[in-house]
């Protein structure tokens, strides 16, 4: 571990110095394995937050009853060592040479691999239209909030639990009507990446299919409630 950024009270980005690490593709993840003194091992997958070519970073949300995330968010310090395996996955990846408009749909910490894609687009100077629909519980739960202002893509927020005074954005879970108002029209045949909880991903993907999107355009990554 070679540094950390506290993103929100529950979310932290860890910079990792992993000798021999092969560069990743935007959207991939890695596995972290922690081994206790008695030999007990716990392994979890985390999305890579950095763009290809950048210092390796993962962003982790603390799940209070989790085995791994409380350590990584609250305790891990520079110089700590743990095993990582990866980069992993050739399904949930965006290739910058793909000319199709990109729709990113993230729920909570599901924004992490999408941030890697947005940073990648910016770093390679891609002109591909990219839009992010990002669902968070509250404004304080929005990860990468400052960065998303300047990353050069359209970001549409919806705050499902609590909104700041004067909030004029969406204030509900992503549904068909919200998608209809914000997603690229189906005629543009966009490529879509959806990441979040199982419930979130199912709702977003089903809504897009109702708008005429084809299943093959939509790539999904679902994470469960184990951390």
């Amino acid at each position: 571990m070679a540094g950390a950024v506290q993103e929100t009270p529950r979310v932290r980005t860890l910079l990792l110095d992993a000798p021999g690490w092969a560069d990743h593709r935007a959207g991939q993840h890695l596995d972290v394995r922690l081994t206790a003194e008695d030999g007990y091992q716990a392994e979890r997958s985390y999305s890579i937050a950095s763009a290809p070519g950048e210092e390796l970073a993962i962003t982790i949300e603390r799940l209070d009853d989790g085995e791994v995330s409380p350590y990584l968010v609250d305790e891990a310090a520079d110089g700590d060592q743990f095993e990582v395996r990866g980069p992993i996955g050739g399904y949930f990846v965006w290739d910058a040479s793909d000319p199709r408009p990109i729709l990113l749909v993230g729920g909570g910490s599901g924004v992490v691999p999408l941030r890697s894609m947005a940073r990648h687009r910016e770093r390679v100077g891609s002109g591909t239209p990219m839009k992010l629909l990002y669902s968070s519980r509250t404004w304080d739960d929005v990860i990468y909030r400052d960065e998303l202002e300047t990353i050069g893509i359209d970001v549409v927020y919806t705050l499902t639990r609590e909104q700041p005074p004067g909030w004029t954005g969406y204030a509900r879970r992503i549904d068909r009507e919200l998608l209809e108002e914000t997603a690229w029209p189906a005629e543009q045949k966009p490529r879509v990446f959806v990441c979040g909880s199982t419930r979130f991903v199912d709702a977003a993907a089903d809504g897009l299919l109702e708008l005429g999107y084809e299943p093959g355009w939509i790539r999904t990554e679902r994470f469960g409630a184990t951390g």
Binding site: D31, R85, S197, T220, G224, A225
Partner: protein, 85 residues
């Protein structure tokens, strides 16, 4: 509605890479029960003492993986095809 603890096949990409030496997340699979064809990344994955992979259409078990004592036991009897390359 699926169990909110459900993961998907992306979550076992690392394990499969270690076991088989290739990335299986984009690999098309065919369910042995209903014949649905989906990339491994889209299948439902449940992690407990072992790993159970289910078809996202008929929910029948396609793959079971149990590890222990330095050995790995993989039951693929619910999967009729797995396409690589």
């Amino acid at each position: 509605m699926r169990d909110p603890r459900t993961l998907d096949g992306n979550a076992i990409g690392g394990l499969m890479l270690e076991l088989f030496g290739v990335d299986l997340t984009p690999a098309p699979t065919t369910c042995g029960s209903c014949g649905a064809r989906e990339e491994m990344a889209r299948l439902d994955v449940y992690r407990g003492a072992g790993i159970v992979v289910r078809c996202r259409h008929c929910e029948d078990v396609m793959i079971r993986i149990v590890q222990g004592g330095g050995r790995t036991w993989i039951d693929l009897s619910g999967t009729s095809t797995l396409e690589l390359g």
